[in-house]
Symmetry: C2
């Protein structure tokens, strides 16, 4: 049995560095968080937790793995170190919100506590899952939001960045609100509803020796008829192989009439090129006049949230949207920049153990990290989001009137009363085993829907949304400032 070595090589060299310094078993606390939302969106849906929990279970080193690592790190000759890897199981604790929860910049989405070398080795694996899947779920949410209640179908596998991107991406998109996927394996693996009908090649396969437009039209009719015979109760026909108005649409209506004679109602037509607003109106009118007001019009062809919004704003009679590339790659902003930063480290002095809370100052002020073991408290009033407070784990939940203070613009404040406080991070993995059941896409999808329903329409707006209140507790703010000032070096020019 072989396990993928899902880490950056520096996680191994650092692990050995810790080992040589004798600090590899000190307790360390890492936060996984992002600094800026993709698409200038003010939040992301936290997705990838189930992948993370399964990934941790598979995070092992067999003899093959050890041999490979020894070959690329011949400097490491301590057998004790290699034995540490041979016995590797993650024994620490992971804290996380429920998969699907809305999370804001700087909020820990995972808090990982354990032996320094163990938590360091997990870095890349945790980031890859959470960054990718949260990104795609958030992209999906935006398209679903734009579709304003009409179903969105994910069909991007062929443009996905690899097989995982297609399959895990379909799961994330479903959690973000799409109704179905075309990716068969995502259906099988996760139980997500799948869908699919025909491509243009199906029509062209019936183009025998076509010599005239009439013969091309006949060939299309033959293709449609064949499809309707195979799937009489699932008849959705792609109508733009040669000409929507002169061929695809009249052929589809002819086939729908025959179907009805046999007692079947058609699903409808799909338009995959051309001006979708114009063509959908042409199709709607013809279908209505032919007596098929129930036949749906599905549109696809390079859709994204803005095209969907504009089509609907123009009153295009489209019943469902198929989205491919722009969703499965989050094309307009294809990476969530989640990071994994040390927030606390145990230290021994005179036989006593201390937890120190370092921060990275960095040359970029926006990259300064927050110190300590933290949690996030979501404040709701009448079920609606009023703000988040990042607190130190050992603080009590806030009670009574609460003055929230913007962490940068300190004069920006608001007082919140009569709120409900919900601590978002709870342990999900401890001592080598997961503490929560397998998370199905449906569970995470529900979590996302509930979490999103707490936000106002202003927060959910696609363009120039309202910035949510995410503040730091007084104790965290003071610790943060103290750690900065302890490290800040005077620059004299």
């Amino acid at each position: 049995m072989s396990f993928p070595l899902l880490f950056d090589f520096y996680e191994l060299t650092m692990a050995y560095g810790y080992f040589r310094a004798g600090i590899h078993e000190r307790t360390a606390v890492f936060d996984l968080f992002y600094r800026k939302g993709p698409f200038e969106h003010p939040y992301v849906l936290f997705v990838g937790l189930e992948g993370v929990l399964q990934g941790i279970e598979n995070f092992r080193f067999g003899e093959d793995e050890i041999r490979y690592l020894q070959s690329v790190a011949p400097q490491i000759r301590d057998e004790q170190f290699w034995d540490l890897l041979r016995r590797f199981r993650f024994h620490g604790t992971i804290y996380a919100p429920e998969e699907g929860t809305v999370m804001f910049p700087r909020e820990p989405m995972l808090r990982v506590e354990g032996k320094l070398f163990e938590v360091q080795l997990l870095e890349t694996m945790l980031l890859t899952y959470v960054n990718h899947q949260s990104l795609i779920a958030t992209a999906a949410h935006r398209m679903v939001e734009a579709a304003a209640g009409k179903p969105v179908i994910e069909m991007g596998a062929r443009r996905a960045q690899g097989v995982d991107a297609a399959i895990d991406g379909a799961r994330a998109a479903y959690i973000g609100g799409v109704s179905k996927t075309a990716t068969t394996e995502a259906g099988r693996r996760f139980g997500i509803p799948i869908t699919g009908t025909m491509a243009h090649s199906f029509v062209l396969a019936f183009h025998r020796d076509v010599q005239s437009p009439d013969q091309a039209k006949e060939a299309e009719l033959e293709a449609f008829t064949a499809y309707a015979e195979a799937f009489p109760d699932q008849c959705l026909l792609v109508v733009d192989t040669t000409d929507v108005e002169r061929s695809g649409l009249p052929n589809a209506i002819a086939v729908f009439r025959k179907l009805r004679e046999k007692g079947y109602e058609p699903i409808g037509v799909r338009i995959d090129s051309g001006d979708l607003a114009y063509l959908s109106r042409v199709c709607r009118k013809a279908l209505d006049e032919a007596g098929f007001p129930g036949a749906q019009i599905i549109a696809s062809s390079d859709l994204d949230e803005f095209v969907i919004r504009d089509l609907l704003a123009q009153g295009a009679p489209i019943d469902a949207f198929g989205v491919g590339t722009n969703l499965i790659t989050a094309r307009s902003d294809p990476a969530l920049g989640g990071v994994y930063k040390l927030a606390a480290i145990e230290w021994e002095e005179n036989g006593e153990r201390h937890l120190s809370t370092p921060i990275k100052l960095s040359e970029n002020p926006t990259k300064v990290t927050l110190p300590g073991r933290k949690n996030v408290v979501r404040l709701l009033k009448d079920g609606q989001f009023v703000g988040d407070l990042i607190i130190l784990e050992d603080e009590e939940d806030p009670k009574g009137p609460l003055r929230m203070i913007h962490p940068e613009y300190r004069w920006k404040q608001k007082v919140v009363t009569d709120y409900e406080a919900i601590r978002l991070l709870r342990p999900v993995y401890r001592d080598g085993r997961r503490l929560i059941d397998k998370i199905t896409p449906d569970t995470a999808r529900q979590t996302a829907a509930q979490s999103l329903a707490q936000l106002s329409p202003e927060h959910r707006r696609l363009h120039m949304p309202h910035e949510p209140h995410v503040d730091l507790s007084d104790a965290l703010y003071e610790r943060w400032m103290a750690e900065i000032h302890r490290r800040r070096m005077e620059k004299v020019q």
Copy 2:
């Protein structure tokens, strides 16, 4: 043993439609090609062939798979059809250029011939591999080109769109010219050189109870010393955890001096934030003055081809570039829009077999496909690229003076003489087995380098490159126009 169902569900419904119409075993020819290069780049490196060949070998349907498909397609009750899937092996033929070859828009990168239902089922799998890997290889090539001979290191796994994207992406990036990857599993799986040293967390792990900037600086020195002891011959130190000029750099030099006393030369320093041009100059000066002119300066932090080019244009003394997100996601254009289109289909009439060559007209003129079994002839003169000619497979290679004619702007012509003609597509898979050896990343990397060396600097320019000549043979052009006119329906307004 379970196989992933790597297809869009419509490939199955179409397969059944073909089966019901009795045409599923007719010979069909599909082309895989792209219409427009990513990043407005005039070509891509064709990568993904090894993945495709392995994917085809794994393309099977076990009983689990059949059961799942039956559950989602209950309309399909023909046991004969399910038996076809149970026995599924791809028996057709695949033609492809060598993995790594430069390919231009509209040129077939794969030509797939076989039974209609078989070639249809492969659609998504072929597209996913080729689209993703060709994209990343091309993105890597641009960054390597910008780096003008300095090494580029791939380190994007944490931002990749899933685990495959990280691992296969690292392989593609290597083929595109990067020198090393940080992704350990890519090293193990493909034999690509890997590299890695330390993150900021390594420094912060030594921040015990820091009370002053001096103590922070001491902690960093302690971390550097620990790392140098673990890897005395591989000492590369990240110098921007608190302050490059006042802490990281002087600490690094102190450690380098100790190393030298022990007989080791340092690798150098890494800068991961701040202004890289300014900081690299500061580091270079200090390292030179301290007697370490051989110590390298590695820069990272959101680099892409344009930042690399500009840093070098400003004379920043950077010796190697680490690139993450922008490479592994091809951030500025994260999808190659490869498509898979029917180009020919066998037809029986009066007991005779014909190969008809349909095209898709589509509502978008740029999406009109090219008909027939095609190949690509690369024309070289003195080893340099002068143009490509897309021809019909049964045409002879061009000989003697050749008039090349732009397929759209027909007045744009040039006559080429004394050229060498190389047919790019050759069979790589036939009758259920691959015809070529396993393609190593090094082989494909060499192919890419040779193929790129045939292009002029004008073609390889990052911004506003010269458009290469890619024309159609007269026979193909005439067939194309004939097929269009046979299908074009008169629009009267």
